[in-house]
Symmetry: C2
DNA sequence: CGGTAAGTTGAATCTAGTCAAGAAACGTGG
DNA sequence: CCACGTTTCTTGACTAGATTCAACTTACCG
């Protein structure tokens, strides 16, 4: 095999040729770019013509799969409402939960590189997703580079999320993991305008355990333990966080330096991450203020 | 160097204004887009004008940090030679290793969204990286959408890698993790033209353990166990894989493949003829070899 | 050479997994 | 509305596996 690499366009995202923006699965109302950025908490310059561009929505019912592992990749999805679980299915039957995407979260990115989704996304609720057909995006990004940046950011964000997860799995014990899971959930729900103190889990102990690398019994025990120490109150899927600080302490016993639990400033649009002004004279290559920089992992 | 052309969008990657493509840290020779795609094992339509575009290289010495956690984000990096470790640094000083990027691997992507790198990249060797200043890319991607797709793919690939890692941490025991780690390393080295059978670790047990969520003693024991069962031969950092199949069986006793390993429609070109040469690799080579579809989790 | 860092190995401890039984919630159909 | 089966959750006792503590060996570097 010589260096003959000109096969057909291996880099093409497929050949979904669509109108302005839509998708095979189009159904129901559409969503403007502006609303999309609001969902993602990412600011972007409002350009009139873009505000008119719209993405299709898709509704997914409880228990229904949005995409299956192995399906041909075509679109990214941003959750607009509801809640999902994403799973690797070990064809011996057992599944490993990779995440619980909720409003504003990305799904499907693991399909870009290989051309096939690598995980299955199942709705845990009646949910709605914004369909972002990647192939169709290049046309748009040509006219609006900031839209391209937005995509990079969304992908990066997902990467960070998963990296935090490996930190959680690599460092924390059972109670720490469960505590981190609850805090993360609390934070995300809070960012969406729900109560940070009180919420209902939409997933089973089994699913939580799979996600956290624990058995369901262990999850149950950890929850009971936190319940007994009055840090939270648990009844089935109802969670009340009584003492958030104590909960944080479970994750990070080493004093308060608890790496920010606040995942996203969520309240206001996240300041433009990539903006930078660093002109060429940026130098100062080594003034790294090696700050503990983490967000609380999980979910 | 200081060209004048600041397109100004709120989401712009900054105003690093550079020539064709270069970066503040420019130093040494450059690398063409074509070579970059070869590094990444991603095909792309060869456009003459693009072939003339070049990326800067940077050399990083053993023990030196390429970027620090908390540094302002400016570029992505593709490893061209050598080996790194990427770490989260816990405020209390302890570090969690996130990966061991090698030739063709991406670094720095966790900095895109927040505008600051979230992990530190330290060279475990004398290494060379291709500097990909993201801000400067939008101009290029306008002219060549496939380049944009390339970036998406690279990010997606990294995401999948980390997802596989969470699978590893979530499901495997100590021996399985170490076995998966070795197989992954073997596969990656093989893809680079080195021996799959015999190689030297460039990281300590401590670092491996941190990466795999284990203590160094546990890593040592796992290696000893595999050594005693004649599956591999270990002597300090020298690894010989004697029975690859047995090693795979340690990861997946059930005999199938790990999740996600399900056969992809071999979208790839066939492999060229490089076999194991049986020598622990350290000869310099940037041989392109096609990556087998998916490596076994880890690393 | 000698000192330090890295790796190995053993024994005790602790944590999470496993097996098992029972309680609580949920859905369905009478 | 209640009875019934199913699923989910909780709890206990026991086991397997990883961590901890500690001694010791081996490599590496000046």
């Amino acid at each position: 095999m010589t260096s003959a690499m000109s096969h057909h366009d291996a880099l093409d995202f497929g050949s979904i040729d669509l109108g302005p923006i839509s998708a095979p699965e189009h159904e129901g109302a559409n969503v403007s770019v502006r609303e999309l950025t609001r969902l993602l908490h990412i600011d972007y310059p409002d350009e009139a013509w873009l505000a008119r561009t719209a993405f299709a929505l898709r509704r997914v019912h409880d228990g229904e799969a949005l995409v299956h592992s192995g399906d041909k990749f075509h679109s990214l999805y941003i959750v607009r409402s509801g809640c999902f679980k994403t799973v690797y299915t070990d064809f011996s039957g057992s599944e490993q939960v990779l995440g619980f995407p909720m409003c504003g979260d990305l799904m499907g990115a693991d399909g870009i590189d290989g051309g096939h989704y690598k995980s299955t996304a199942v709705s845990l609720d009646t949910s709605e997703v914004v369909i972002v057909p990647l192939a169709g995006m290049t046309r748009l990004t040509n006219e609006c580079p900031s839209l391209e940046a937005l995509l990079y950011r969304v992908l990066s964000r997902e990467l960070v999320r998963v990296q935090n997860m490996t930190w959680t799995l690599g460092t924390l014990g059972a109670e720490g993991r469960v505590a981190a899971f609850l805090l993360n959930l609390s934070e995300r729900l809070g960012a969406l305008g729900y109560s940070r103190r009180s919420f209902n889990l939409r997933m089973t102990r089994q699913e939580i355990g799979s996600y956290l690398g624990l058995k369901l019994e262990t999850v149950s025990r950890a929850l009971s333990a936190l319940n007994n120490t009055r840090i939270i109150h648990v009844h089935q899927r109802t969670i009340d966080i009584i003492d958030p600080d104590a909960l944080r302490a479970v994750v990070d016993p080493a004093g308060g330096a608890a790496p920010g639990i606040e995942a996203q400033p969520a309240a206001g649009p996240v300041r433009n991450g990539i903006q930078d002004d660093g002109r060429p004279g940026k130098s100062r290559a080594t003034l790294p203020a090696d700050v503990p920089w983490r967000q609380l992992a999980v979910a």
